[in-house]
Amino acid sequence: MPLNRDFVGRTYESSAPYEVSRVKISEFATAIGDSNPIYHDRQAAMAAGHPDVVAPPTFPIVFSLFGTGEALADPDLGLNFAMVVHGEQRFEYERPIHAGDELVCASTVAEIRSVGRNEFLTLRSDVSTTSGELVCRTYNIIVERGGAA
């Protein structure tokens, strides 16, 4: 079933700030197999000029998914999760995310299009601190296999 184009332009904001913790950064870094001390050891991070341990480049996926989940789970969108695969992902960083950041996420359905038998949906998320500093932008394209058939 084709996705509902009425969703294009809708924005979903996080209901509560996401608190970036040292423990979560370390857990995520361990899960991707990365032992870089800048992810695990505050002293090492500070020696490298950071205020605290910093997050790996793909870490924003941990909390940006929460904001977009609400949009994608809306039955009116018509998305069949079983057929979803990840098409593209991009991050633009204003600065590294570090432990202690409190982040909010505003996710916008930027585009929905059909390519062959598949539906492509682009989500853009602006990640900012609770005081309004933009930290990064993420672009996420998900593909619903067979959705346009």
């Binding site: 995520f28 991707i32 991009r90």
Partner: protein, 142 residues
């Protein structure tokens, strides 16, 4: 917050040697837990096959994270990455054995920009498949 690689010492076309990253089922389970992405296609063979996949496949974001490791290990500081994007062009199929799959990543300095920034183009392969395309990182060098 500075890369250990110096802009003046890098040339366009310079190759960054390949690194192999192993991915086993347990790595996907651990990544599911850490990332919050519990889609069963990444850990449940029965489910993956029922939806038409050859077997359990790695999270695209797991493969992207290995590309991130490759870039940050080269640059020397995770904070040096100012932009990173990929297209997931093929699946990384992870069999249920002790070896799992291998992702081989290599890179080339594609462009030198102003402000001491460079564009690194990544190639990621698993078996015969190119698993990432349009994989680029913009890195702030010192």
């Amino acid at each position: 917050m500075a890369a250990t690689v110096k802009y003046d010492e890098v040339e366009t076309g310079q190759e960054i040697p390949a690194v192999e990253y192993q991915v086993r089922r347990v790595d996907l389970v651990r990544y599911a837990g850490a990332s919050g992405d519990f889609n069963p296609i990444h850990w449940n063979e029965r489910y993956a096959k029922a939806v038409g996949l050859p077997d359990v496949i790695a999270h695209g974001m797991y493969t992207m994270a290995q590309g991130g490791r490759f870039v940050t290990d080269w640059a020397g500081d995770p904070g040096a990455v100012v932009e990173y994007g990929v297209r997931f062009s093929s699946m990384v199929v992870v069999p249920d054995d002790d070896n799992g799959a291998t992702i081989t990543i290599s890179g080339v300095v594609e462009d030198k920009r102003e402000d001491k920034r460079v564009v690194v183009a990544l190639t990621a392969r698993s078996g015969d498949a190119r698993v990432l395309s349009k994989a680029r990182a913009v890195v702030q060098l010192s």
